[in-house]
Symmetry: C2
Subunit: 104 residues, 2 copies
DNA sequence: TATATGCGCAACCTTTTGGTTTCACAAAAT
DNA sequence: ATTTTGTGAAACCAAAAGGTTGCGCATATA
């Protein structure tokens, strides 16, 4: 399944996971202790996060630490910036129209 | 149903709608002409976008123009900034640890 | 007035999502 | 060597998502 970062952050639990591992890498069990669901459910969320490279797995013995890939978060910023840029350009155009009116 | 902005931007079609109306307010039919789906499907997306205040409806005769509420986009930024801040603080803490080691 | 247009809403259907339970397996601990 | 612990994967399930078609209603247009 083709995932993207926007789908990844759509779920509140996944956003909370991201926030937690922003502090430090954590294991599935460690993460699950902060939520009201099973470890398996958290593992599923981690898989989604992995599929779009928001999260990286680092095995340590029989534990697996999941760490945040902060660069991926930039993709969100980029889109938001694009929207804002389009929005502001629109006002520039309006300004131009108003300037033209004033100059007549 | 309780929606939030993150769910709103999860769908690619909705992100495209947001980008389009960032340029100028548009009607459902006007929007639908840019996509490969029915007007009703676009209307459903608009309803989702309305429910989390990303979009505002402005009736004009029998047409309804949907315009972007740019302020809502800031909520995305805020969350991203929060993640980044936590992430960077983490490194500050590591720096502190390293500083302490160096001072011994 | 009759007709065409633009729209929202409801019913329906299929696929996806998010959860659970159960299992197998590797790595630690006993 | 046996048991405990940490994990991913698979099967299953209910709910939600995203699409369609068909409708009714209000507003333009003829």
């Amino acid at each position: 399944m083709r995932r993207d970062i926007f789908q990844a952050i759509a779920d509140p639990t996944r956003r909370a996971i991201i926030m937690l591992i922003a502090v430090q890498a954590m294991t599935p069990n460690g993460l699950a202790s902060h939520f009201d669901t099973s470890r398996q459910a958290i593992s599923k969320h981690l898989r989604v996060l992995q599929e779009c490279d928001v999260v990286k797995a680092e095995p340590k013995g029989r534990e697996i630490y999941y760490g945040l890939e902060i660069e991926k978060v930039n993709e969100i910023d980029e889109w938001v910036a694009q929207v804002r840029q389009v929005w502001e350009t629109r006002f520039d155009q309006l300004d131009n129209v108003l300037d033209n009116l004033k100059n007549k």
